[in-house]
């Protein structure tokens, strides 16, 4: 296991500790890493510092309350927190509701397989590396697309992202969920 996988798997185990034991020490570490990033994301999306601070606290509180919703066979912790922060941004800055698809979740008795969890965390690492290796100009455009600074026509230019094999991994996780839900 490489260091980067170790970091991602550590966040996954922190989420389990928050979910199962309401572990404040694990939450404090998650907070120290992600809260400032969420705040920075919201500021780049147009929030002032005090609104961004308030929303980042709310996003982190949602991570605590919804820890049981996090599926480590489908996403990294960073990805899950990104989706919560993005939804908060739409809610608070745009004052819109964001329609969500029907949910696919594990039943109370089911847990994802550890091999699937490791696989998706490794895919996230590969994706992160692929983005890091892009030419600086393209990497900045992707950051802009996610921080809300791009027009639709500029976004259309960015769809040739190095998504690699993460989609097929997620697809596999969805198929297992469908099977488990029957």
């Amino acid at each position: 296991m490489k260091d980067e996988d170790g970091k991602r798997m550590l966040w996954v185990s922190h989420m389990a500790r928050i979910r199962d034991q309401q572990d404040q020490a694990a939450f404090a570490e998650l907070f120290d890493h992600f809260a400032p990033r969420v705040k920075g994301f919201l500021m780049k999306s147009g929030a002032n510092a005090s609104l961004a601070e308030e929303c980042a606290q709310e996003v982190m509180a949602t991570c605590w309350h919804k820890a049981h919703m996090f599926d480590p066979a489908r996403a990294s912790v960073a990805t899950w927190i990104f989706t919560i922060a993005r939804n908060r941004k739409i809610d608070v800055l745009r004052k819109e509701r964001r329609p969500e698809p029907e949910e696919l979740t594990w039943g109370p008795e089911e847990e994802p397989d550890q091999a699937d969890v490791l696989a998706i965390q490794q895919e996230s690492e590969l994706l992160g590396r692929a983005i890091a290796e892009l030419p600086a100009a393209q990497r900045e455009l992707i950051q802009k697309a996610y921080f809300g600074d791009l027009t639709q026509s500029e976004i259309a230019e960015q769809t040739g992202l190095p998504l690699g094999t993460i989609k097929s991994r997620i697809r596999l996780a969805l198929e297992r969920l469908r099977h488990a839900m029957k």
């Binding site: 907070f31 120290d32 809260a35 400032p36 990033r37 705040k39 920075g40 994301f41 500021m43 601070e53 980042a56 709310e58 509180a61 949602t62 605590w64 309350h65 996403a75 990294s76 960073a78 990805t79 899950w80 927190i81 990104f82 989706t83 922060a85 993005r86 941004k89 739409i90 819109e96 509701r97 964001r98 329609p99 969500e100 698809p101 029907e102 996230s124 994706l127 992160g128 983005i131 992707i142 950051q143 697309a145 996610y146 921080f147 809300g148 027009t151 639709q152 026509s153 976004i155 259309a156 769809t159 992202l161 998504l163 993460i166 989609k167 097929s168 997620i170 697809r171 969805l174 469908r178």
Partner: protein, 222 residues
């Protein structure tokens, strides 16, 4: 059971826009409804979510920090219980309902709750409440009838919920999406077997300048 027969999907640009949070509400509704029926597009959206996760994790911080008391403030927030959820409780067992869950949220129930208004030739529509910038409506075309010529003023996406229609671009059944722009002239005809119910979303004329040719190109690859 999942339907495996969806042949016409949303474009990557729209799916990425959904993940990055940059689409108008009506388009978000289209994506949420389609993804409820299509695991391929769901996996693509979640891949674009993963890009967002990596961007969040690795973006330069430029000295942004939380205030000193913020962790304690967050723990206090947590002890106050979960934030109020804006989303209403959905009907259980939506898998086989004509309206996917996200659409049920907008009509406050199932197909029986839709407030249809006749717009001529037996065609009925119901406008869904979304923010300005793009519109969303349900359309019902009687079996075997031609869709009214409604003129495209920009990007328009039509997803079949019940029945089917066909036009110059092919045959569209439940879950299939047709993407059209203002240059497109087509005459969809509803399948003879059943009334056709569709979700139609369209943008305001100005926003997608330059976006349209690309989106149609991408659609044409399918």
């Amino acid at each position: 059971m999942m339907e495996n027969t969806i042949n016409h999907h949303l474009t990557d640009a729209v799916l990425m826009g959904y993940a990055s949070g940059s689409l108008p509400e009506a388009f978000n509704l289209m994506v949420a409804a389609h993804v409820s029926l299509c695991d391929s597009c769901r996996a693509q959206v979640e891949s674009y979510d993963a890009v967002g996760g990596e961007v969040l994790d690795n973006a330069p911080q430029n000295g942004v920090e939380m205030t000193e008391s913020s962790f304690m403030a967050t723990m206090a927030l947590i002890s106050g219980g979960p934030l109020d959820e804006a989303a209403p409780a959905r009907l259980q067992q939506t898998r086989n309902a004509v309206l996917p869950g996200p659409l049920q949220d907008y009509v406050a129930g199932g197909l029986d709750e839709v407030k249809w208004r006749g717009i001529g030739m037996g065609v009925k529509q119901a406008i869904l409440p979304t923010s300005s910038g793009a519109s969303a409506r349900l359309l019902m075309i009687p079996a075997g009838a031609a869709m009214p010529d409604h003129g495209h003023h920009g990007l328009e996406m039509t997803m079949v919920l019940q029945g089917a229609f066909k036009d110059e671009d092919g045959y569209f059944a439940r879950g299939d999406v047709e993407v059209a722009d203002s240059d497109m002239h087509h005459t969809p005809i509803a399948d003879i077997h059943e009334d056709c119910i569709c979700l139609v979303v369209a943008d305001a004329r100005l926003k997608f300048d330059g976006f349209l040719p690309k989106i149609v190109q991408r659609f044409a690859r399918i």
